[in-house]
């Protein structure tokens, strides 16, 4: 409730300071939008595995209806805007108790998105100085949909078809127009808002094989422990609770940004700075408990049973948080004309570059456990913090999950309109919104997409000299000879290509957009000699292929009514970016929108 109060107080202050005694009538503007969206998931997506798994079933993915309303009023140099969407979900997957059948909100779940709710005063105090306070979206980035410098608003991935959408957030923004095309801007965001994730994101934490540590040795060790417990003792690891910790509402956690933008030789250039947080969560802590009970897995793991005597299940409670960072941004947009020597009259090619240098704060993770007793007491892990350095005492240097090495994200895009109403857009995207940390073709580390052990038997695991677990007075574990990992760069490279073709006097739009991940994947595994071997899977191999194909047909009736039909195909193995179950799988959709 603080935000509306602040907005109201600020608006009242500036309104009372600037409203003239006599003014023209205010001008009103209103727009309504009614949209209905029906989607089908084409395949069941599951993550997790034995005993516990999270599943998104094949069938209706959403039956969503939206009433969007936008009101704007302008009066002298004051403008107030409100834009909200009432979203009705259509159905509730699970009703808790008989009482839910009497609850309208349970039977007809909905949400309200307040995208804009602000007051702006233009030419406040002196000409060219504008202040806007309230819920708003500040989109400084010039690239299309993939904007590494749009950091003031949290990403909104609730609808996977709306690439690049951001949520409105409360902020105070001031712009000073030094000239008509050169401006200085500053924005202050008092409270952090995290990225809104799609429903399918719940499948992400269920994939326990994605060990987040930067340190390879520690990763291999924990992967060996987890893999061995599951494979040889039937003691699976299951994510039980996920706790999200957002930054406290403290002064030092306020986000701020500055921008200087202008036009030089007809090219638009902007420099920006942001201090705040990455809006996607990363693990800060992990605590493991033991559920020593007999339990059998459901389909498709019906034959798998964990037993109390072996250790039951290992339940992990994961805490996620938002790492602090700074970012220096550069935006350039304009056009160039390589055809000029041929003919002056051929139109130029549009280009846009948006890049940011991120300075992350180093983030470490705390790993702890209750006393774990596995294999009837053969393996024990004492209660307390994990012994990271295996010095026999709990704790040690906590593992890094985000290094403090700077890294860059960028989008370089070109677009062109060919005769015949054919519009083409080509982009090289380096680092998607959810990707974070130093690690790409220029250096840094890779992230784990999947892991397991290659060891065939418990005997091999504990074999002196060639095994991974040395039993003795102190158990020591080295996963170098056991752990197998599938890796990819922390920051991927993507080729985004799209073509729009308009037909029937611009009323029929056919669109095909694709995102092809170029980074490829690699498999690292131990060799019998004890070394590790790396197998590379370039993007054009079945193992390294990962892509999105997004065909769409839309018809605009010209009176505010639009109909759309399309599909979103997420392709690739389950460890890949787009084949990942957490990406939601492939969808088809049909939608109608009427704007009045």
């Amino acid at each position: 409730m603080i935000r509306p109060l602040l907005a109201g107080a600020f608006a009242t202050t500036i309104l009372s300071a600037t409203l003239p005694a006599a003014a023209d009538d205010p001008s009103w503007d209103m727009q309504l939008r009614i949209e209905s969206d029906l989607r089908f998931r084409l395949e069941t997506k599951s993550a997790g595995g034995v005993i516990a798994q999270t599943t998104l079933p094949r069938g209706v993915e959403r039956n969503q209806n939206i009433l969007g309303a936008r009101f704007a009023v302008s009066w002298e140099n004051v403008r107030a805007v409100a834009q909200t969407d009432l979203v009705l979900y259509g159905y509730q997957a699970k009703l808790e108790g008989i009482g839910a059948l009497s609850e309208a909100e349970e039977l007809q779940p909905y949400r309200i998105d307040v995208n804009e709710l602000y007051v702006e005063v233009q030419n406040l105090i002196f000409d060219g100085f504008n202040v806007r306070a309230g819920q708003q979206v500040v989109a400084w980035g010039v690239a299309d949909q993939f904007n590494p410098t749009n950091l003031l608003n949290a990403d909104d991935l609730i609808d996977p078809l709306l690439f690049g959408k951001q949520q409105g957030n409360f902020m105070v923004k001031a712009d000073y127009w030094v000239t008509d095309d050169f401006s200085l801007s500053a924005a202050l965001v008092p409270l952090f808002k995290p990225a809104r994730l799609p429903v399918s994101a719940a499948l992400g934490p269920a994939q326990v094989g994605r060990t987040p540590f930067v340190n390879r040795r520690l990763r291999w060790r924990t992967e060996t422990e987890r893999g061995a417990a599951a494979r040889f003792l039937n003691v699976p690891t299951v994510v039980d609770n996920v706790t999200i910790i957002t930054p406290e509402p403290e002064f030092e956690n306020m986000q701020a940004a500055f921008r200087m933008a202008g036009t030089v030789f007809e090219q638009d250039i902007a420099l920006s700075y942001y201090t705040g947080f990455h809006d996607f969560p990363i693990p800060f802590a992990n605590h493991t408990r033991q559920d020593a009970s007999d339990r059998c897995g459901g389909s498709p793991f019906g034959q798998f049973c964990s037993t109390a005597v072996n250790g039951g299940r290992l339940l992990t409670d994961t805490t996620l948080g938002y790492p602090k960072m700074h970012a220096y941004g550069l935006n350039i947009a304009g056009e160039f004309n390589p055809f000029k020597p041929i003919d002056e009259n051929i139109g130029g090619i549009g280009y846009r570059f948006e890049g940011a240098l991120y300075i992350p704060r180093e983030t470490k993770m705390k790993v702890s456990q209750e006393e774990l007793v596995l294999g009837g007491g053969a393996f024990r892990l004492p209660q307390g913090e994990y012994d990271y350095d295996q010095d026999g005492r709990p704790g040690g240097p906590r593992p890094v999950v985000v290094e403090d090495r700077p890294f860059a994200k960028w989008t370089l895009g070109l677009d062109y309109t060919f005769p015949g109403n054919v519009y083409a857009n080509l982009m090289w995207v380096h680092g998607l919104a959810d990707e974070y940390g130093a690690g790409d073709w220029m250096g840094g580390t890779k992230e784990v997409r999947d892991s397991n052990i290659v060891t065939a038997s418990l005997g091999d695991l504990i074999a002196p000299g060639t095994g991974c677990i040395s039993l003795g007075a102190t158990t020591r574990i080295d996963g170098t000879r056991c752990a197998r990992e599938t890796l990819r760069p922390r920051l991927g490279d993507y080729l985004v290509a799209g073509v729009d073709v308009k037909w029937l006097d611009d009323q029929l739009l056919t669109r095909l957009f694709t995102i092809l991940e170029l980074s490829g994947y690699e498999l690292t595994r131990p060799t019998p000699s004890g070394d590790r071997r790396v197998l590379s899977y370039p993007f054009y191999t079945p193992e390294g292929f990962s892509a999105v194909i997004f065909p769409e047909i839309g018809y605009n009736f010209g009176n505010g009514l639009e109909l759309g039909l399309g599909a979103l195909f997420n392709l690739g193995k389950t460890y890949t970016k787009f084949g990942d179950p957490a990406s939601g799988g492939s969808l088809t959709f049909i939608r109608a929108r009427y704007t009045l």
Partner: protein
């Protein structure tokens, strides 16, 4: 199809080279034609600033008519268009500062987007007028003219695009009223000499000694003679429009 394309260039280049008919554009002109073109410019582009509101009707054979509304501000070579209807494009603005510096504000994205000159030969919302068609502020700067026909009342000028002047069409035919120096019909051709469009302008009225048609109709011959008619609903001559209206600042402030 009016903007020259690679294939178009190749075919035209091959044809003129083979036939030995290559002549510089200026060679088509004559002093009388250029003078007439300059006179037309002086008549129809007399105003320093202008504001228009149009109601448009898009007619496509065998389809229902579609309507739209737009407002246009003009000053120097700058032009700002804002769509007022239909509702789904309402608030969309296109700012043209030069042939190579243009912006579009899309309300749905709350973003001012730089657009490149490759889009200027495209219509919008199915209109048969393109940005190029509506952005000409001087025919004489872009074209050299020769008198092709003169019946004493109506004169037909044959115009060829000047080199390096961003002429949106390589060739035009302008039919103008000799007494008033106002164009009544403009025919647009491509490199190969094919007539692409015909624009008629009628119902001229005078305001502060400036002339403007109250109705413009563009017929697109490449699309089965589909047409767009713009009927002027409001017109202001030499209103006080500050330079800042034609700026990124104005687009962003209005967002």
């Amino acid at each position: 199809m009016k903007r020259r394309t690679f294939t178009g260039l190749l075919s035209v280049g091959t044809a003129v080279t083979a036939s030995g008919l290559w002549l510089p554009d200026e060679a088509w002109a004559d002093e009388k034609g250029d003078k007439a073109l300059a006179t037309i410019d002086a008549t129809i582009f007399k105003a320093k600033t202008q504001y228009f509101e149009y109601e448009g009707t898009i007619r496509v054979p065998e389809k229902a008519d579609r309507t739209l509304k737009l407002a246009v501000w003009m000053k120097n070579e700058w032009r700002l268009s804002e769509f007022l209807a239909p509702a789904d494009v309402k608030g969309t603005k296109v700012l043209i500062l030069s042939p190579t510096q243009m912006y579009v504000y899309l309300p749905a994205y709350k973003k001012v987007r730089r657009i490149a000159s490759h889009v200027t030969d495209q219509g919008f919302m199915g209109m048969h007028f393109t940005q190029d068609d509506m952005s000409i502020t001087s025919y004489a700067k872009m074209y050299s003219a020769t008198v092709a026909k003169d019946d004493g009342k109506l004169v037909t000028l044959s115009c060829s695009g000047k080199k390096d002047k961003h002429a949106p069409y390589p060739k035009l035919e302008i039919v103008y009223d000799k007494a008033k120096n106002i164009p009544t019909e403009i025919r647009y051709f491509n490199d190969a000499g094919t007539k692409l469009k015909t624009e008629t302008r009628g119902g001229y009225t005078t305001e502060k000694e400036c002339l403007s048609p109250s109705e413009l109709k563009m017929v697109d011959h490449t699309k089965g003679n589909a047409s767009t008619t713009l009927v002027r609903k409001a017109w202001k001559v030499n209103p006080d429009i500050p330079d800042s209206k034609f700026s990124k600042r104005a687009l962003e402030e209005g967002s």
